[in-house]
């Protein structure tokens, strides 16, 4: 690389007189700063608008009652409910997603992989409102008729969110499994282990951090997902800790969308909703940061 680098530098130095070249580089550099600018603006404006709600202090962060009509803005209840829905969905996505990833990476015949893989890629992008609508029309009615209750329930939220996190879990886990050095696998096979034994004893333990990363990323997606989950979980007016999976529930994202429709601009309610957005942002950012660190650690190893 050294020689090539030097050739490039020499080239660049030779072009040094050309003002146009320099201008283009500067212009591209300025344009590439746009992402920083947008993130910066998002943080500043969200914090500024959320501040009056954060100023409520403990009442805001640890309050268990969210009831805008009586000016009670305790978000802990919403955060708890968000995690109840997110973790359940993640468990479902793990049960289906990890075996699918192992299958795609290790066992699937080529032709079957060529069918499954595009399906997984499609599933990532299906508009969430369509999945939510399907959930509302099919899943909710099915749950109501089979198990009773309103139908709009935690269970429906789990299933719909699991469908939406599944593709993320599958593609990252599959990459992690494929990244395990071939030599490990061959050594295990040479020792007389079966393919399945090799997968469970050698490949999966080595892909551990990548798989875990995919789950945490899936969690981030589940927590930030809005429309699909909003349409199937019922959103009771006053959120409460549910006692069964058939009860309706309310999460951070659905609260923002539903109440933004009637909030009064400039009221504490509006500030509290934007503060909810900030809390959501922080939770998702933390989960993403953990994922990034884990994937990097896995690659170094």
């Amino acid at each position: 690389m050294g020689v090539l680098e030097r050739v490039r530098i020499f080239k660049f130095w030779k072009m040094g007189e050309s003002i146009k070249e320099r201008l283009i580089e500067k212009l591209l550099f300025l344009l590439s700063l746009s992402s920083i600018l947008i993130v910066f603006f998002i943080i500043v404006f969200m914090l500024k608008e959320g501040l009056p709600a954060f100023a409520l202090g403990g009442e805001f962060f640890f309050g268990m009652t969210w009831h805008p009509a009586t000016n009670q803005f305790g978000i802990l209840i919403l955060v708890l409910c968000t995690f109840i829905v997110g973790i359940g969905a993640l468990v479902l996505a793990t049960i289906i997603g990890i075996p699918t990833a192992v299958f795609l990476a290790e066992f699937s015949p080529e032709w079957l992989r060529n069918i499954i893989k595009p399906c997984v890629e499609m599933l990532v992008g299906i508009p969430s409102v369509v999945i939510g609508f399907f959930g509302l029309m099919v899943l909710v009615i099915f749950i109501r008729d089979t198990f009773g209750g309103w139908g709009e329930s935690i269970l429906a939220g789990w299933i719909i969110l699991a469908i939406m996190t599944l593709p993320h879990v599958i593609s990252i886990s599959e990459d992690a499994i494929r990244a395990v050095p071939k030599a490990y696998k061959e050594a295990s096979l040479a020792l007389g282990a079966t393919h399945l034994q090799t997968v469970t004893r050698v490949i999966l333990p080595n892909a551990r951090s990548g798989i875990l990363a995919s789950l945490i990323l899936g969690m981030g997606n589940a927590v930030g997902e809005t429309m699909a989950v909003l349409m199937v979980i019922g959103n009771p007016e006053i959120p409460f800790i549910p006692e069964s999976v058939l009860e309706p529930v309310r999460v951070l994202t659905s609260t923002i969308v539903i109440e933004a429709a009637y909030m009064i601009w400039g009221s504490t309610h509006q500030h509290a909703l934007i503060a909810l957005g900030v809390v959501l942002f922080v939770i998702v950012a933390l989960l993403n940061a953990i994922t990034t660190v884990m994937i990097r650690k896995g690659m170094v190893k």
Binding site: R8, L28, S32, F45, I116, C119, F133, F134, I163
Partner: protein
């Protein structure tokens, strides 16, 4: 003992087949159900008429609105995204500034779309006074897909072999000439594929559009960029949650069908371009 092991192995294999099958089935069930239910709503009137209250008329303004929003979004995100990608992959020295840019691109990609929607509402709609409009909605969607455009373009640019650049530079072309005539010329299918994937995301987004672009029931086409605009996603959402008649629900299915069809056209083109492109590049 060995017999038991064999049975366990068989069971685990069956389990994996079942899991993979469920994944594929989930996609086909959702899509199939929407198509079967929605096809009854589709007629020329439905596609070309203006909506009237919840249950009557067609979805013409919603279809056009979705296309307008995607267009504004791409007009914003594509130049910025491609420029950033060119800078990051061709010019950027390996220093702190570049590292920071990359970090923030990742940050932006990780922000949930509803938070970006709230930001659009605070900043564009209220602070800058653009109002609930096509412009606010398109720009906010642009914020969302910008990092994806950057990533995809960067990948496409990086896939162009270094020898191409060296050949061009050796022929005396300047750096910018090389980028424009050699790198971009070879990377453009990959870049377009990335742009189309971003476009698919923009078409399918609901929360952002709901906050910044309009209520979804608009019975008119936007006359100016500062007018509110309807979209298929918000229309589907409103009807799905607020219509209580058969006709209303049918309309929601029809709108979902049109939305899914647009999404598939964009995404399939993107995946096709990407596969063809990847094959060509690795063929060298």
């Amino acid at each position: 003992m060995t017999g038991n092991k064999k049975i366990t192995e068989k069971l685990v294999m069956i389990g994996m087949y079942v899991a993979a099958f469920i994944t594929v089935a989930a996609l086909f069930t959702v899509v199939g159900y929407v198509y079967v239910k929605g096809i009854g709503a589709i007629s020329l009137d439905f596609l070309l008429d203006y909506p009237y209250r919840l249950e009557f008329g067609g979805i013409f303004p919603q279809i056009v609105g979705t296309i307008y929003l995607a267009a504004v979004c791409l007009l914003f995100a594509v130049p910025l995204g491609v420029a950033s990608a060119i800078y990051l992959s061709e010019y950027a020295p390996d220093n702190m500034i570049t590292g920071t840019v990359r970090f923030f691109v990742e940050c932006l990609a990780g922000i949930p779309s509803i938070v970006i929607g709230l930001f659009g509402l605070i900043f564009l709609v209220h602070y800058l006074g653009l109002g609930i409009s096509l412009l606010s909605g398109g720009l906010t969607l642009g914020f969302m897909i910008l990092p994806w455009t950057i990533r995809a373009s960067e990948e496409a640019i990086k896939a162009v072999p270094g020898s191409y650049r060296e050949a061009s530079l050796a022929l005396g072309a300047s750096k910018w000439q090389t980028i424009r005539n050699v790198v971009l010329k070879n990377a453009y299918p990959g870049i377009i594929s990335g742009i189309l994937l971003g476009c698919g995301k923009a078409i399918g987004d609901t929360a952002i559009v709901l906050f910044t672009a309009g209520s979804g029931l608009e019975w008119f086409l936007p006359m100016a960029i500062t007018d509110p605009v309807g979209s298929l996603t918000v229309y589907t959402y409103i009807l799905a949650t607020q219509a209580h008649t058969e006709a209303g629900i049918l309309r929601a299915f029809g709108a979902s069908l049109v939305l899914l069809t647009m999404f598939f056209m964009v995404t399939v083109t993107a995946l096709y371009l990407r596969n063809r492109y990847v094959r060509r590049m690795s063929g060298w």
